[in-house]
Amino acid sequence: MQLTLKIWRQAPGNGQGKFENYNVVANEHMSFLEMLDVLNQDLIESGKDPVAFEHDCREGICGTCSMVINGRPHGPLQGTTVCQLHMRFFKDGDTITIEPWRAASFPIVKDLVVDRSSFDRIIQVGGYISVNTGQAPDGNAIPVERGEASKSMDAAACIGCGACVAACPNASAMLFVSAKVSHLALLPQGEVEDDKRVTAMVNQMDKEGFGNCSNVGACEAECPKEISIANIARLNRQYLRASLSGE
């Protein structure tokens, strides 16, 4: 299949970038990233600068790959990261637009690569249970209701890719933060610190410059792990409770 790619190119340290057009020959069994590999081999061999994009596991779990395809984070397929998207979902002759995540809190490093360390800093202020190695009681000492454990797992499935921020018109990180808050608060082990956690994480999120949530729901629609916005509601309740209790 013959494709035209319209790719965002931006040099490091340069606030400005622009779209450039490339032609590439792909086949339908390739993954989207393998198609970009083919493009980069051509670019390198013809003495041009390859397109920088991030990727690692190519199994949809590490959360490294991050690009907006035809206006949608991770592309057209529901519940799928770019690396798991295959070319059979495109047609011969298509023009495909590829851009980086766009959010002030994710500055562009080069081309399609952005800096997501703001996510790490949000986790660092409280996205954990305060337990040192060796302090744990027996794993079965505290039974966890199966349904709650399953809900916790649903939230914990977040891969920290940042698609929710890229999808949100306000560049809000609420889905990411609420997924962590919910994952831990739904377990008896994590409940202990939940007031402190939610307050610290929301404050850090604001400090990093992420926008506010206005219930658009684009984050849930584009999340490759289909994290539910019910988590945002849970975060809001917790945050309110924590504010009232003076944390």
């Binding site: 490091p12 086949n27 390739m30 993954s31 393998e34 590999d37 083919v38 081999q41 390198i44 061999e45 003495g47 041009k48 600068d49 390859p50 920088a52 991030e54 690692d56 596991c57 190519r58 199994e59 779990i61 590490c62 959360g63 490294t64 799928t80 798991q84 295959h86 490093v109 800096d115 997501r116 360390s117 790490d120 986790i123 660092q124 202020v125 996205g127 954990y128 249970i129 305060s130 337990v131 040192n132 190695t133 060796g134 744990a136 009681p137 794993g139 039974p143 966890v144 209701e145 199966r146 454990a149 399953s150 916790s152 797992m153 914990a156 499935a157 891969i159 920290g160 994952h183 082990q189």
Partner: protein, 665 residues
């Protein structure tokens, strides 16, 4: 140099407990003054950095990723073993130890493996306390499943995302220490050299991947937790960026590489589809709990399936060869990975491969769907359910167990595995070999500790499923935090190590020269092109089966490829900027040297054991022929520039298990 394993004396089951109670400690006020470098933030690295930070050491932690949450531990699907015996099915520390020693084909150190089995239970407790959302039963207690190579249910899991959940747990523990100031985190920094001062590992040279700047970091000791070298084969289930460079740089500075030829080929991966392919995708081993592996008995049926005239699901039962069940009735589809992989290769070598390339076998869930469907119908009280009801109910059960894996398979191949059998083929997955370490997980280079897949220590010649996560976390949470004290307790009088010394200067300059040389070749072939060629050589001559002639030929081919690489590689851009192609170029250069050493080791080991199958050494039935009289040793290789590597042997002594021919029949 003789290799001293430093295994403590005493009864096997008491060694670790007694040793822990008698090993030298570092007082809290001294810990604050001691610095530790941890390279890598997978399960082993993140858990070690977090635990060392909690203890009070000053830790500097490094990852080449943009975040310490992305290492490839995250991709492990199936689970983590622990000898909890929660299922009351006869499990014990001894049994986990025995299964691991046997599964490793008697090529690992007894004392290390027993310690691993002992601390396995602590890992589960620790992870539960951190908030890892393990699967639970209705009563709220932890659920288990069984895995290949064992007959008890001891595997804990979090859907098909166990590695992810354990890594996020370790990442969160690490984040907490970063927040407290105990750990300084360096993202997007790749270690490119090890600095050795007066015979001790004292620091690293790392490249800041954003700026290209080379930076020096010093500490009292260095911990490597940098993963395995499976990507030497180009196509593997490893993540694209997994590499051997940190470990290989340590080898170049004097550390020994142990058993490099022991690589694990995982039996259940999605087959290769084309020459553009960048990586292979694993389908969790847990699928073999319910999936049945088969190929057609007759060649004409193979052809009919290949050219699409027969749908595999329509081929009658009597025309199928469920070869694992036939050859290994005791374990059936749950034989260990090396046995299952080799059997698949044999079936395909006989011309029974079921896809276009002839390199695939079926993994079929039709029976499981029917069995679960009937049982579900019964429990729902349905009388005389028809076939389609049963199928529907059965598919529901299978979906609940493996839904995400089935979905992933369908996304990649376009086939629906509920309706037609999966096609699978073995692929490189894990490397049991790695840097040589003693009982303290310290290499022959004093002050260099090596954890997780990067060391060779616990899996012998073959790793059992759900044991990699166990070993990574055992090393990081429960072994190195203690054993590092054996080295650091002698360092309390040494002030902070300065980077302003000759060894750092020399290492930085050597790294800079290497990078500049790669950039300056400006040849005609891309790094990727070379890596693919290296992979093909490795797979052909040092893959699922090996022979002496092939290994000699392969070695020569790598030498020629290496020569060509340094004369014709094309690396765009410059060294002093963000340059992902240069990152790859450095890694591929090291993979080539590593590949050569793997062949050397495979050539030396005149026996078949675990993942290492030498065609010259097999039984009349085609099973692996181990030669305990001559090869019950760890082969630790010392790199010598421009000469053959030197072999050092650590003899393995087995005082608690009897060496038997592994039989899964």
């Amino acid at each position: 140099m003789s290799l001293h394993s430093k295994v403590p004396p005493g009864e096997l089951a008491e060694k670790w407990t007694n040793y822990r109670s008698s090993m030298p400690l570092v007082a809290p006020n001294n810990k604050r003054r001691l610095e530790v470098i941890v390279v890598g933030t997978g399960l082993a690295g993140a858990s070690a950095a977090a635990s060392l930070g909690e203890l009070g050491y000053q830790v500097k932690c490094f990852t080449f990723h943009d975040s310490p949450r992305r290492a490839h531990s995250i991709a492990a699907q199936g689970g983590i073993n622990a000898a909890k015996n929660y299922q009351n099915d006869g499990d014990s520390v001894y049994r986990l130890f025995y299964d691991t020693i046997k599964g490793g084909d008697y090529r690992s150190r007894e004392a290390n493996v027993h310690r691993l089995a002992e601390v396995s239970t602590d890992i589960i407790d620790q992870c539960v306390a951190q908030g890892v959302p393990f699967a639970r039963e209705y009563g709220g207690l932890l659920a288990n499943r069984s895995f290949g190579g064992v007959q008890v249910s001891r595997t804990f899991y979090a859907r098909g995302q166990t590695g992810q959940q354990l890594l996020i747990g370790a990442y969160q523990a690490l984040s907490r220490q970063i927040n407290s100031g105990a750990v300084s985190m360096y993202n997007r920094h790749e270690m490119l050299d090890l600095v050795v001062v007066d015979g001790k590992a004292r620091g690293i040279i790392a490249r800041n991947l954003l700026t290209g700047k080379l930076e020096r970091f010093a500490a009292h000791c260095v911990v490597l937790a940098t993963g395995g070298y499976g990507n030497v084969y180009y196509l593997s289930t490893n993540a694209m960026c997994c590499n051997v460079t940190s470990a290989w740089r340590a080898v170049k500075r004097g550390a020994y590489m142990a058993n490099p030829c022991f690589t694990q080929i995982h039996p259940t991966c999605i087959p290769v589809s084309g020459d553009y392919q960048s990586k292979l995708t694993l389908m969790s081993e847990s699928l073999r709990n319910d999936g049945r592996v088969w190929v057609p008995k007759e060649k004409e049926d193979v052809d009919a399936i290949r050219n699409g005239n027969t749908r595999p699901e329509d081929l009658p039962e009597e025309k199928r060869d469920y070869y694992l069940e036939r050859r290994y009735p005791a374990f059936g589809n749950l034989v260990p990975r090396d046995v299952a992989s080799r059997a698949a290769k044999q079936a395909c070598d006989e011309g029974k491969g079921v896809n276009q390339s002839g390199l695939a076998v079926f993994l079929d869930f039709a029976d499981a769907i029917e069995r679960y469907g009937r049982s579900e119908a019964k429990s729902q009280g349905l009388e005389n359910p028809n076939n389609s009801d049963i199928t529907k109910l059965g598919e529901g059960v299978v979906e609940a167990k493996y839904g995400n894996l089935f979905e992933m398979y369908e996304k990649i191949t376009g086939d629906n595995p509920y309706k037609t059998p999966m096609m699978i083929y073995p692929a490189v997955h894990y490397t049991m070999g790695g840097l040589w370490v003693d009982y303290n997980l310290e290499s022959n280079l004093p002050g260099l500790f090596v954890l997780g897949e990067a060391n060779y220590s616990d899996h012998g010649a073959n790793r059992l499923g759900a044991s990699a996560l166990m070993q990574g976390l055992a090393d990081g949470y429960f072994v190195v935090p203690y054993t590092i004290g054996t080295f650091l307790s002698d360092e309390i009088r040494n002030p902070a190590i300065s980077t302003d010394q000759r060894a750092f200067e020399e290492a930085e300059q050597a790294t800079r020269d290497r990078l500049n040389k790669l950039i300056s070749v400006k040849g005609n072939q891309t790094v990727e092109a070379f890596h693919r060629r290296l992979g093909l050589i490795m797979w052909e001559y040092c893959g699922m089966s090996r022979n002496a002639d092939g290994l000699r030929k392969g070695q020569k081919m790598i030498q020629e490829l290496r020569e060509e690489y340094w004369n014709d590689v094309l690396v765009p851009g410059n060294a002093d900027e963000f340059n992902p192609e240069l990152e790859k170029a450095v890694r591929v250069a090291d993979f080539m040297e590593m590949g050569e050493m793997m062949m050397e080791d495979a050539l030396n080991r005149d026996e078949s054991c675990g993942g290492h199958f030498r065609e010259e050494y097999q039984t009349p039935e085609g099973e692996a022929l181990r030669r305990d009289d001559e090869f019950t040793y760890v082969a630790a290789w010392e790199w010598v520039e421009n000469a053959d590597s030197v072999l050092h042997k650590e003899e393995l002594t087995f005082e608690n298990v009897e060496l038997k021919t592994r039989s899964y029949k």
